[in-house]
Symmetry: C2
Subunit: 300 residues, 2 copies
Amino acid sequence: MLALTILGNNSAIPAWDRNPTAQILQSLEEAYLIDCGEGTQLQMSKYKIRRSRINHIFISHLHGDHYFGLIGLLTSMSLLNRTQDLYLHAPVALEQIISLQLQVAAIELSYKLFFEPITTEGIIVDDKKITVKAFKVQHRIECWGFLFTEKKNPRRIDGNRAKAYEIPKSFYEQLQKGEDYVTKKGTIIPNKEVTIDGVKPKTYAYCADTIFDESLIEKIKSVDMLYHETTYLKALHQRAAERFHSTTEQAATIAKKGNVKRLLIGHFSSKYEELDEFLIEAKEVFANTDLALQGVSYII
Amino acid sequence: MLALTILGNNSAIPAWDRNPTAQILQSLEEAYLIDCGEGTQLQMSKYKIRRSRINHIFISHLHGDHYFGLIGLLTSMSLLNRTQDLYLHAPVALEQIISLQLQVAAIELSYKLFFEPITTEGIIVDDKKITVKAFKVQHRIECWGFLFTEKKNPRRIDGNRAKAYEIPKSFYEQLQKGEDYVTKKGTIIPNKEVTIDGVKPKTYAYCADTIFDESLIEKIKSVDMLYHETTYLKALHQRAAERFHSTTEQAATIAKKGNVKRLLIGHFSSKYEELDEFLIEAKEVFANTDLALQGVSYII
């Protein structure tokens, strides 16, 4: 299971109490921060996101509404005496900006910050529990999308049946891995007799800022949840294209053609105070759509 | 008259709904932004501060809690198609940070940004209505205080008396400057007969982040309002000194010895949720003290 919490859902200029882009994707074990617009650390306090759960930060691109909050978060973590390593996955130019800001403030971080520049498509994190793949999206500057895929969850043991077959607890870990049990007498107890499927691994695709681009469909195919930006309503499709952004209709088209389970839309232009129309327009094309609303956690 | 609005009153790590440092000093004509911690543009929206009134921004030093909100504000102004010139007064290293951030985002600002590095003590702004002087304060890195001094206001004309003396309206501007009027018959009407003193020009001193430093007393002498940081309560005077910060007692001592009219204290450490004790301790030394509270405008 994954839970995605929206910390900011607005595009460039913060407005209508909407913050610039930031999202937290949480598994049972840890939290992944995706983009980090100005004010993200304040939003994290507000929504009780523990900074210490974050070991990986992903920055899609270097427009300010996606990373101006990062340096504040990094330095606060240091002021709070963090010691765990932190991995920052981002376009290469970010490293110099951060170095410079630390240098002028004469700050040495209390923890090791590993800067992992994203340079090509492919797997950028391969943990025990999850893999993260970066893929290119088309925006005004270099920009990356991220595909999070949970690893296969262990099989769950049916305690009563395992007991009935007198399987020792010391073998449970192997049962979870799917192994059959062989009794002392040589009888094979098939794994499926005493276990049930683990929770299905989930997938989440984050498409950052992007122009309408059908080549994305292949990359996000069949995910459990797709986040796709909708800076504009469909009437402004021309402006969207000029600015390398997307409309409601376009985001929903990607979701539909990609056969995803659920679509989340965000990165709303400051010109819109009300968001109802975004949902209406997207649902016309893809019914299972939600607005990315700040403070809300979407369970995947 | 000046009005000082507090946008952020906390020290390094935002906490307890307190933002990092930012203040707006407003005259009838314009607004001066003093420091710009993360989230300042959001605070400006919240408290209805018009960005277009700001022509000068002052950054005391390059610790993040005093400038991480600047780049967001500068780029938002551009997205809103600002065309007025903007003057940024700050330690020299800030220029490279901003240039780099604009460059990686491929942004050209819609307005002219004049970077005015602060390198020595002295007058850094000399407008029609105000002068601003930078003075050194002692902190862990290069740090500046700012002294705002309104220029002498024009004398106010006593309309009834000016009419009684039959002084033509065309001479009123000269009256405001203090000139006497000479009638056609050669009679001198002394200026003081027909005018009253203009509003007394006001002074505001901002002491940024500073260790307890009695050399400040001379620099802020007799100002109408002094802002002095109080990161810690007096019990933590040793920690304050180690970190180049001040306590309540120390700030109030500077105010008292400087014979200022009023003291405003802020930059509270995140370790304190409640601020009452700050006020109590400071008032023991200097009675006319207020807490710098977010969203509150203090009239000078």
